[in-house]
Structure formats: C-alpha cells, structure tokens
C-alpha cells in the first residue's frame, strides 16, 4: 500500500489560521479549533484544581484561593464564552456532517446558487445563539463580582 504523504505545508500555522477569502464558515473553522485548544488547556488544569475537593474543606479552600482575582475571573469568562461558541458551532457542524442544513443538489443554472446560500443562515443563527449564551454568562459573572 502506498502511503499518502500529502502536500508540503508551505504556509505552516498561518495556512491553518488564515481564512483568506474562503468566507465566514472558514473563519468559524479557525475559531472552533482555537476555542477547542483553549478549552482543552483549561479542562486539564480544571481536573487538577477541582480534585482538591477529595481532600477536604481546607484543601478545597486552598485550591480555590489559588484561582481567584480579576485575571482568573476574566480568564474564566473567556473560557465560558469559548464554551458557548464551541458548543453551538459544534451543533452546526454535527448537522452539516449528517447532511442537514446543506440543501438539496440542484441544476447549475444561472444565477448560480450553492450550498453556502443554505448554510449561511444556519451559521448566522448559531452565532446569535452563542452570543446570547455568552452574554447570559457575562451577566452572571458581573452579578457575582
């Protein structure tokens, strides 16, 4: 079996981050991965910090004491906003993966319409829902601090 070696990655990280003129969904792709990496980094730390509850009240208070202050609060809100985006955009990707929300195949007759015309409203709706969830979380953070 011949191994597929792919093309040389001429643009490196920028080829992954940059969307050029590929459109709105291409930037959602980048943002999905960036938020995914952020959430993963937080999650691994979260496993260690919250495990302190298994060692009693003092250990819990000490662990919580290490993650307080304005920097942590802002960071925590950013993780919440990243979660809101990643979750709702993930639902969009799930629907598209299963072939929902991409429209039916049509004849290429001028004026041309593509699958993007069907997908774009879904992407916009998803961003609105993500923004509403992020704002609700933000209000909760403001109410707390």
């Amino acid at each position: 079996m011949v191994e597929y070696k792919g093309r040389s990655n001429r643009l490196g990280i920028w080829g992954w981050l940059g969307g050029g003129r590929w459109g709105f969904e291409r930037y959602l792709y980048t943002l999905h991965r960036v938020t995914g990496l952020g959430i993963l980094a937080y999650f691994i730390l979260h496993i260690f910090v919250t495990s302190a509850r298994a060692f009693g009240q003092e250990a819990w208070a000490a662990a919580m004491g290490r993650v307080t202050g304005p920097l942590f609060t802002i960071g925590e809100f950013l993780v919440f906003a990243a979660f809101a985006f990643h979750a709702v955009n993930g639902v969009r990707l799930f629907l598209i993966e299963l072939g929902w929300g991409v429209g039916k195949p049509i004849e290429p007759v001028f004026p041309y319409r593509t699958s993007v015309h069907v997908q774009r409203p879904l992407a916009v709706c998803v961003m609105i829902v993500a923004a509403i969830v992020a704002v609700m979380g933000g209000l909760d953070f403001l109410g707390r601090h």
């Binding site: 191994e3 792919g6 093309r7 040389s8 990655n9 490196g12 990280i13 992954w16 991965r33 995914g36 990496l37 959430i39 993963l40 999650f43 691994i44 496993i47 260690f48 919250t50 495990s51 509850r53 298994a54 060692f55 009693g56 009240q57 819990w60 208070a61 919580m64 919440f80 979660f83 979750a87 993930g90 639902v91 799930f94 993966e97 609700m136 979380g137 209000l139 909760d140 953070f141 109410g143 707390r144």
Partner: protein
C-alpha cells in the same frame, strides 16, 4: 475505516458533552438565572456547602466520570486532528497518538479517583 470509527466516537462524545457540560455550566455559571443544584442560600456554586451537596449525589459522581471520559476523548482526539492537519511525518503522528492515549488514560484515572473519593468523603460528613 479505523479513522472513520474514531471520528464517529468524537461526534458521539460531543453529544454527551453537550448534555452534561451544558448542565455543569448551567449549575456553575448561570446560578443567578437558573438556581439549580446549589442548595446553600446566598452561597456561590463553588462554596464548600454546595460542593459537598453535589459530591454526595451518585448522579453527579457518575455524570462527572462520564463527562470526564467524553471530554478527554473529544479534546485529545481534536488536538490530534489539529496536529495531523499540519501534516507531520508518519513517525510524529504515531508518537502524538501514543502520548495522547497514555496521557488521556492517566488523566481519566486521576479524575475518576477524585470523583469517587469526593463522593465517599461527602457521604461520610
């Protein structure tokens, strides 16, 4: 075929996370709007009294472990996908998969121990 199966698991784990992380975020970050599973009046969701009440519950212990496993798989498989999109050499791909598998299993073991130990501790209080 194997990659397709792993990708399907990735999507399935996403659905599990959507349900249980959605609940977790609602309990921890929307407590001012939806005050559920925080029985201590006027206390934050991370206050010890609330943490103990949730830790006592077998439902929370089990769903934390399910969420831990699903989130680790989803997150680490996602990281592997991102690294593979950068088109590294075959040996690097293999090494990345091995490191992420071992790391994920260790984190799962540690997190499961913490959930179980806190359940035992809270029930003894």
């Amino acid at each position: 075929m194997r990659e397709q199966r792993l990708w399907t698991w990735h999507m399935g784990a996403g659905v599990v996370i959507l349900v249980f992380l959605g609940l977790h975020m609602t309990v921890m970050h929307l407590e001012g709007i939806v005050g559920i599973f925080n029985p201590a009046e006027g206390e934050l969701p991370v206050a010890w009294a609330n943490v103990v009440e949730r830790s006592k519950s077998a439902f929370f212990m089990v769903t934390y472990i399910v969420l831990l496993g699903a989130a680790l798989y989803h997150g680490l498989f996602g990281l592997r996908t991102i690294i593979e999109e950068l088109n590294p050499a075959a040996a690097v791909k293999k090494a990345v998969s091995a490191v992420l598998t071992v790391g994920g299993l260790l984190l799962f073991a540690f997190g499961t121990f913490s959930a179980w130990a806190s359940y035992q501790l809270a029930r003894g209080l």
